[in-house]
Symmetry: C2
Subunit: 72 residues, 2 copies
C-alpha cells in the first residue's frame, strides 16, 4: 500500500478511537475538513508540519503515530 | 525544537550512522543534494513521500525513523 494511504488510514483509525468527527479533527488541528477528508482518502502528500498538527489534535506523539506494523 | 529541525537532525544522525555522504543519500533517494542539505538544516517542510524515500535509502522503516525520544 502507498504511504499516502497508510497515513490516511492511520489518521482515520486514531480519529475513530478518539471518537472525533472529521470536523472535530479539522477544528482542533486548524485545518480544513475537506483537507482532512482527502488526507484520509490517501489523496494528499501531507507534510510533516501537518502530520504533527494532526497528531497533536489526536493526542498522540509522532512516535506513537508511526508505532504500527504497517510502518515497519 | 521545531519538527522540521527534529526531522533534519534525525536524517543526519542516521546518515552518519550509515556512513553515507549527503551526495550518497541524495543519489540513493533520487533527490537533490541541495534538497537533502536544506532538509537536514531544518529549512524544509518535507512531505511524507520524501521522508519515506529517505528512510528507504537509509535502510530504516518509518517506525524506526520515528522511534526516538525527541518524537515522543
Amino acid at each position: 500500500m502507498e504511504i499516502k494511504s497508510k497515513i490516511g488510514n492511520r489518521i482515520k483509525e486514531l480519529r475513530e478511537i478518539k471518537q472525533m468527527s472529521q470536523k472535530d479533527l479539522a477544528y482542533s488541528a486548524d485545518l480544513d475538513r475537506s483537507y482532512i477528508a482527502s488526507v484520509e482518502n490517501g489523496k494528499r502528500n501531507i507534510s510533516i508540519v501537518n502530520i504533527e498538527k494532526i497528531a497533536v489534535a489526536l493526542g498522540v506523539s509522532l512516535k506513537e503515530f508511526f508505532n504500527k506494523q504497517e510502518f515497519n
